[in-house]
Protein backbone atom coordinates (compact mmCIF):
# COMPACT_ATOMS: atom_id res chain seq x y z
CA UNK A 1 0.00 0.00 0.00
CA UNK A 2 1.36 3.46 -0.88
CA UNK A 3 0.21 6.98 -0.21
CA UNK A 4 0.47 9.70 -2.86
CA UNK A 5 2.08 13.06 -2.08
CA UNK A 6 0.81 15.18 -5.07
CA UNK A 7 2.21 18.51 -3.91
CA UNK A 8 5.70 16.95 -3.65
CA UNK A 9 5.45 15.03 -6.95
CA UNK A 10 4.41 18.24 -8.78
CA UNK A 11 7.73 19.83 -7.96
CA UNK A 12 10.35 18.55 -10.43
CA UNK A 13 13.05 20.78 -8.97
CA UNK A 14 13.19 18.96 -5.65
CA UNK A 15 15.01 15.66 -6.12
CA UNK A 16 15.87 15.74 -2.44
CA UNK A 17 12.21 16.01 -1.51
CA UNK A 18 11.28 13.24 -3.94
CA UNK A 19 13.93 11.03 -2.44
CA UNK A 20 12.62 11.79 1.05
CA UNK A 21 9.07 10.95 -0.06
CA UNK A 22 10.32 7.69 -1.56
CA UNK A 23 12.10 6.86 1.69
CA UNK A 24 8.95 7.69 3.67
CA UNK A 25 6.85 5.41 1.45
CA UNK A 26 9.34 2.57 1.93
CA UNK A 27 9.38 3.19 5.65
CA UNK A 28 5.60 3.03 5.68
CA UNK A 29 5.59 -0.26 3.73
CA UNK A 30 8.15 -1.65 6.15
CA UNK A 31 6.08 -0.53 9.14
CA UNK A 32 2.97 -2.12 7.65
CA UNK A 33 4.66 -5.42 6.87
CA UNK A 34 6.36 -5.49 10.27
CA UNK A 35 2.98 -4.94 11.94
CA UNK A 36 1.46 -7.65 9.75
CA UNK A 37 4.28 -10.06 10.51
CA UNK A 38 3.81 -9.46 14.24
CA UNK A 39 0.07 -10.06 13.99
CA UNK A 40 0.60 -13.30 12.02
CA UNK A 41 3.31 -14.26 14.49
CA UNK A 42 0.96 -13.80 17.47
CA UNK A 43 -1.79 -15.84 15.81
CA UNK A 44 0.71 -18.59 14.98
CA UNK A 45 2.07 -18.71 18.53
CA UNK A 46 -1.45 -18.74 19.99
CA UNK A 47 -2.48 -21.52 17.60
CA UNK A 48 0.49 -23.68 18.39
CA UNK A 49 0.73 -23.09 22.11
CA UNK A 50 -2.45 -21.77 23.66
CA UNK A 51 -4.99 -23.80 21.69
CA UNK A 52 -3.09 -27.05 22.07
CA UNK A 53 -3.63 -27.01 25.83
CA UNK A 54 -7.42 -26.64 26.06
CA UNK A 55 -7.74 -29.08 23.13
CA UNK A 56 -5.65 -31.64 25.03
CA UNK A 57 -7.81 -31.17 28.13
CA UNK A 58 -11.00 -31.54 26.05
CA UNK A 59 -9.72 -34.76 24.48
CA UNK A 60 -8.82 -36.21 27.88
CA UNK A 61 -12.08 -35.15 29.57
CA UNK A 62 -14.26 -36.50 26.74
CA UNK A 63 -12.43 -39.82 26.92
CA UNK A 64 -13.16 -39.88 30.68
CA UNK A 65 -16.87 -39.19 29.99
CA UNK A 66 -16.82 -42.06 27.51
CA UNK A 67 -15.11 -44.33 30.01
CA UNK A 68 -17.56 -43.39 32.79
CA UNK A 69 -20.52 -44.25 30.55
CA UNK A 70 -18.97 -47.40 29.10
CA UNK A 71 -20.68 -49.70 31.60
CA UNK A 72 -24.17 -48.99 30.26
CA UNK A 73 -24.24 -50.32 26.73
CA UNK A 74 -27.99 -50.23 26.19
CA UNK A 75 -30.76 -47.64 25.78
CA UNK A 76 -30.13 -43.96 26.28
CA UNK A 77 -26.53 -44.55 27.49
CA UNK A 78 -25.64 -46.11 24.13
CA UNK A 79 -27.03 -43.06 22.33
CA UNK A 80 -25.03 -40.83 24.69
CA UNK A 81 -21.92 -42.92 23.97
CA UNK A 82 -22.38 -42.31 20.27
CA UNK A 83 -22.64 -38.55 20.87
CA UNK A 84 -19.42 -38.62 22.89
CA UNK A 85 -17.72 -40.60 20.09
CA UNK A 86 -18.84 -38.00 17.58
CA UNK A 87 -17.64 -35.18 19.86
CA UNK A 88 -14.23 -36.90 20.09
CA UNK A 89 -14.09 -37.13 16.28
CA UNK A 90 -14.95 -33.43 15.98
CA UNK A 91 -12.20 -32.43 18.45
CA UNK A 92 -9.70 -34.54 16.53
CA UNK A 93 -10.80 -32.74 13.36
CA UNK A 94 -10.27 -29.36 15.09
CA UNK A 95 -6.81 -30.54 16.22
CA UNK A 96 -5.92 -31.42 12.62
CA UNK A 97 -7.20 -28.06 11.33
CA UNK A 98 -5.24 -26.17 13.99
CA UNK A 99 -2.14 -28.17 13.04
CA UNK A 100 -2.56 -27.31 9.37
CA UNK A 101 -3.28 -23.61 10.04
CA UNK A 102 -0.30 -23.44 12.42
CA UNK A 103 2.01 -24.87 9.74
CA UNK A 104 0.65 -22.50 7.09
CA UNK A 105 1.13 -19.49 9.40
CA UNK A 106 4.66 -20.61 10.19
CA UNK A 107 5.48 -20.99 6.48
CA UNK A 108 4.11 -17.51 5.71
CA UNK A 109 6.16 -15.96 8.54
CA UNK A 110 9.25 -17.74 7.15
CA UNK A 111 8.59 -16.38 3.65
CA UNK A 112 8.01 -12.82 4.94
CA UNK A 113 11.19 -13.00 7.00
CA UNK A 114 13.18 -14.26 4.01
CA UNK A 115 11.84 -11.44 1.80
CA UNK A 116 12.59 -8.80 4.44
CA UNK A 117 16.08 -10.21 4.96
CA UNK A 118 16.83 -10.29 1.22
CA UNK A 119 15.68 -6.72 0.72
CA UNK A 120 17.27 -5.30 3.85
CA UNK A 121 20.26 -3.76 2.04
CA UNK A 122 18.28 -1.21 0.07
CA UNK A 123 15.40 -0.60 2.46
CA UNK A 124 14.95 1.52 5.52
CA UNK A 125 14.76 -1.11 8.21
CA UNK A 126 12.76 -0.47 11.32
CA UNK A 127 14.96 -1.61 14.18
CA UNK A 128 12.82 -3.15 16.89
CA UNK A 129 15.81 -4.09 18.98
CA UNK A 130 18.63 -1.66 19.57
CA UNK A 131 21.49 -4.09 20.13
CA UNK A 132 23.69 -5.30 17.23
CA UNK A 133 23.27 -8.86 18.53
CA UNK A 134 19.60 -8.91 17.77
CA UNK A 135 20.26 -7.60 14.28
CA UNK A 136 22.76 -10.40 13.58
CA UNK A 137 20.07 -12.88 14.58
CA UNK A 138 17.39 -11.08 12.59
CA UNK A 139 17.35 -13.75 9.89
CA UNK A 140 16.52 -16.39 12.49
CA UNK A 141 14.08 -14.57 14.78
CA UNK A 142 10.69 -13.24 13.72
CA UNK A 143 10.07 -9.51 14.38
CA UNK A 144 7.93 -10.39 17.40
CA UNK A 145 10.62 -12.68 18.79
CA UNK A 146 13.15 -9.85 18.44
CA UNK A 147 10.88 -7.61 20.51
CA UNK A 148 10.40 -10.33 23.10
CA UNK A 149 14.19 -10.90 23.25
CA UNK A 150 14.77 -7.17 23.84
CA UNK A 151 12.23 -7.14 26.68
CA UNK A 152 13.64 -10.28 28.35
CA UNK A 153 17.23 -9.04 28.18
CA UNK A 154 15.91 -5.73 29.54
CA UNK A 155 14.69 -7.61 32.62
CA UNK A 156 10.94 -7.78 31.88
CA UNK A 157 8.84 -10.55 33.37
CA UNK A 158 6.41 -12.44 31.12
CA UNK A 159 3.53 -10.42 32.53
CA UNK A 160 5.27 -7.06 32.01
CA UNK A 161 6.48 -8.07 28.54
CA UNK A 162 3.01 -9.19 27.46
CA UNK A 163 1.55 -5.93 28.76
CA UNK A 164 4.12 -3.83 26.89
CA UNK A 165 3.48 -5.62 23.58
CA UNK A 166 -0.28 -5.68 24.07
CA UNK A 167 -0.44 -9.49 23.99
CA UNK A 168 -1.38 -12.03 26.65
CA UNK A 169 1.16 -13.39 29.12
CA UNK A 170 0.68 -16.84 27.57
CA UNK A 171 1.44 -15.56 24.06
CA UNK A 172 4.53 -13.77 25.40
CA UNK A 173 5.60 -17.05 27.03
CA UNK A 174 5.08 -18.88 23.76
CA UNK A 175 7.34 -16.42 21.88
CA UNK A 176 9.90 -16.58 24.70
CA UNK A 177 9.98 -20.38 24.64
CA UNK A 178 10.27 -20.47 20.87
CA UNK A 179 13.14 -17.98 20.66
CA UNK A 180 14.97 -19.74 23.51
CA UNK A 181 14.70 -22.93 21.51
CA UNK A 182 16.00 -21.20 18.38
CA UNK A 183 18.99 -19.70 20.17
CA UNK A 184 19.64 -22.85 22.20
CA UNK A 185 19.20 -20.98 25.52
CA UNK A 186 18.05 -22.97 28.54
CA UNK A 187 16.85 -20.02 30.60
CA UNK A 188 16.64 -16.21 30.67
CA UNK A 189 20.12 -15.92 32.24
CA UNK A 190 21.49 -17.92 29.27
CA UNK A 191 19.79 -15.50 26.88
CA UNK A 192 21.26 -12.45 28.60
CA UNK A 193 24.72 -14.07 28.73
CA UNK A 194 24.56 -15.01 25.03
CA UNK A 195 23.44 -11.51 24.09
CA UNK A 196 26.17 -9.77 26.10
CA UNK A 197 28.89 -12.15 24.81
CA UNK A 198 27.96 -11.38 21.22
CA UNK A 199 27.79 -7.66 21.95
CA UNK A 200 31.37 -7.77 23.22
CA UNK A 201 32.55 -9.52 20.06
CA UNK A 202 30.91 -6.96 17.77
Amino acid sequence: MTIGYPHFNASPASPLLNSAVEQLSRLQIDLMSDALRRAVDDVGAAMKHQLSEPLTALLLYLYEIKRAGAFDAAGSSAALGEIVDRALCEIERVCNIIGQVGEAVEASVDAEAAIAHGASNNRVRVGVVGSPTARTNAHRLTPREQEVLALITGGCSNKEGGYQLGISTRTFEAHRAHLMGKLGARNAADLIRMTSNRDQRL
Binding site: S52, T56, L60, D110, M180, G181, N187
Partner: protein, 133 residues
Protein backbone atom coordinates in the same frame (compact mmCIF):
# COMPACT_ATOMS: atom_id res chain seq x y z
CA UNK B 1 1.54 -48.67 42.61
CA UNK B 2 3.37 -46.65 39.95
CA UNK B 3 3.79 -43.03 41.09
CA UNK B 4 3.86 -40.25 38.50
CA UNK B 5 4.78 -36.57 38.93
CA UNK B 6 3.13 -34.21 36.41
CA UNK B 7 4.81 -30.78 36.08
CA UNK B 8 2.49 -28.64 33.93
CA UNK B 9 1.43 -25.06 34.64
CA UNK B 10 -1.72 -25.23 32.51
CA UNK B 11 -4.76 -25.29 34.83
CA UNK B 12 -6.73 -27.56 32.52
CA UNK B 13 -4.12 -29.97 31.11
CA UNK B 14 -2.44 -30.86 34.45
CA UNK B 15 -5.64 -31.98 36.26
CA UNK B 16 -6.90 -33.71 33.08
CA UNK B 17 -3.69 -35.78 32.88
CA UNK B 18 -4.01 -36.62 36.60
CA UNK B 19 -7.62 -37.77 36.08
CA UNK B 20 -6.80 -39.88 33.01
CA UNK B 21 -3.81 -41.58 34.60
CA UNK B 22 -5.66 -41.98 37.94
CA UNK B 23 -8.34 -44.03 36.17
CA UNK B 24 -5.56 -46.12 34.61
CA UNK B 25 -4.45 -47.07 38.13
CA UNK B 26 -1.49 -44.70 38.48
CA UNK B 27 -0.87 -42.64 41.62
CA UNK B 28 -0.42 -39.20 40.04
CA UNK B 29 0.71 -35.94 41.66
CA UNK B 30 0.24 -32.61 39.87
CA UNK B 31 2.79 -29.80 40.33
CA UNK B 32 1.51 -26.51 38.81
CA UNK B 33 4.99 -24.97 38.65
CA UNK B 34 8.64 -25.97 38.47
CA UNK B 35 9.42 -25.13 42.15
CA UNK B 36 6.60 -27.29 43.52
CA UNK B 37 7.61 -30.02 41.06
CA UNK B 38 11.23 -30.04 42.23
CA UNK B 39 10.24 -30.07 45.92
CA UNK B 40 7.76 -32.94 45.35
CA UNK B 41 10.40 -34.86 43.39
CA UNK B 42 12.92 -34.48 46.22
CA UNK B 43 10.39 -35.26 48.98
CA UNK B 44 9.17 -38.64 47.75
CA UNK B 45 9.80 -41.47 45.33
CA UNK B 46 8.38 -41.35 41.80
CA UNK B 47 8.54 -43.90 38.98
CA UNK B 48 8.01 -41.36 36.18
CA UNK B 49 8.03 -37.58 35.71
CA UNK B 50 5.92 -35.91 33.01
CA UNK B 51 7.26 -32.41 32.28
CA UNK B 52 5.86 -29.68 30.06
CA UNK B 53 8.83 -28.33 28.03
CA UNK B 54 7.48 -24.76 28.07
CA UNK B 55 6.88 -23.55 31.62
CA UNK B 56 6.40 -19.81 32.33
CA UNK B 57 9.49 -18.82 34.25
CA UNK B 58 11.95 -21.62 33.72
CA UNK B 59 12.70 -23.79 30.72
CA UNK B 60 11.23 -27.28 30.97
CA UNK B 61 14.44 -28.52 29.32
CA UNK B 62 16.31 -27.25 32.37
CA UNK B 63 13.90 -29.04 34.75
CA UNK B 64 14.34 -32.26 32.77
CA UNK B 65 18.14 -31.91 33.01
CA UNK B 66 17.90 -31.23 36.76
CA UNK B 67 15.55 -34.17 37.44
CA UNK B 68 17.78 -36.43 35.34
CA UNK B 69 20.89 -35.26 37.22
CA UNK B 70 19.24 -35.97 40.60
CA UNK B 71 17.75 -39.36 39.66
CA UNK B 72 19.02 -40.66 36.31
CA UNK B 73 17.16 -43.96 36.82
CA UNK B 74 13.71 -42.28 36.79
CA UNK B 75 12.31 -41.95 33.25
CA UNK B 76 11.01 -38.56 32.06
CA UNK B 77 8.24 -38.00 29.53
CA UNK B 78 8.47 -34.53 27.94
CA UNK B 79 5.27 -32.90 26.65
CA UNK B 80 5.06 -29.82 24.46
CA UNK B 81 2.56 -27.74 22.55
CA UNK B 82 5.11 -26.88 19.91
CA UNK B 83 6.14 -28.54 16.71
CA UNK B 84 9.40 -30.17 17.70
CA UNK B 85 11.18 -29.43 14.43
CA UNK B 86 11.80 -25.72 13.93
CA UNK B 87 10.92 -24.74 10.38
CA UNK B 88 13.40 -21.84 10.40
CA UNK B 89 16.23 -23.95 11.70
CA UNK B 90 15.80 -27.62 10.77
CA UNK B 91 19.01 -28.54 12.59
CA UNK B 92 17.55 -27.66 15.98
CA UNK B 93 14.64 -29.62 17.36
CA UNK B 94 13.09 -29.70 20.79
CA UNK B 95 12.82 -33.47 20.76
CA UNK B 96 16.61 -33.70 20.49
CA UNK B 97 17.07 -31.04 23.19
CA UNK B 98 14.68 -32.84 25.57
CA UNK B 99 16.22 -36.23 24.80
CA UNK B 100 19.72 -34.83 25.34
CA UNK B 101 18.59 -33.42 28.69
CA UNK B 102 17.39 -36.87 29.77
CA UNK B 103 13.82 -37.33 28.53
CA UNK B 104 13.00 -40.93 27.64
CA UNK B 105 10.10 -39.95 25.35
CA UNK B 106 8.28 -36.88 24.04
CA UNK B 107 4.59 -36.25 23.42
CA UNK B 108 3.19 -33.27 21.54
CA UNK B 109 0.00 -31.47 22.59
CA UNK B 110 -2.75 -31.89 21.65
CA UNK B 111 -2.69 -35.60 22.42
CA UNK B 112 -5.49 -38.09 23.06
CA UNK B 113 -5.83 -40.33 26.13
CA UNK B 114 -4.63 -43.44 24.31
CA UNK B 115 -1.45 -41.62 23.20
CA UNK B 116 -0.75 -40.43 26.75
CA UNK B 117 -1.40 -43.89 28.21
CA UNK B 118 0.80 -45.56 25.55
CA UNK B 119 3.63 -43.08 26.19
CA UNK B 120 3.39 -43.56 29.98
CA UNK B 121 3.38 -47.37 29.69
CA UNK B 122 6.34 -47.25 27.31
CA UNK B 123 8.28 -44.86 29.57
CA UNK B 124 7.66 -46.91 32.72
CA UNK B 125 8.65 -50.13 30.95
CA UNK B 126 11.53 -49.12 28.61
CA UNK B 127 11.39 -52.48 26.78
CA UNK B 128 8.11 -51.29 25.23
CA UNK B 129 9.63 -48.02 24.01
CA UNK B 130 10.69 -49.30 20.62
CA UNK B 131 7.26 -50.87 20.11
CA UNK B 132 5.29 -47.72 20.93
CA UNK B 133 7.35 -45.17 18.98
Amino acid sequence: MTRILVVDDDPSVGPAIVMTLGHEGYDTVHAPDAGIGMRAFEASRFDLAIVDIFLPDISGIEIIAELHRKSPEIPILAISGFIFRDSMDPVLDYLALATKAGAAACLRKPFASWQLIAAVRASVAPALLTMAF
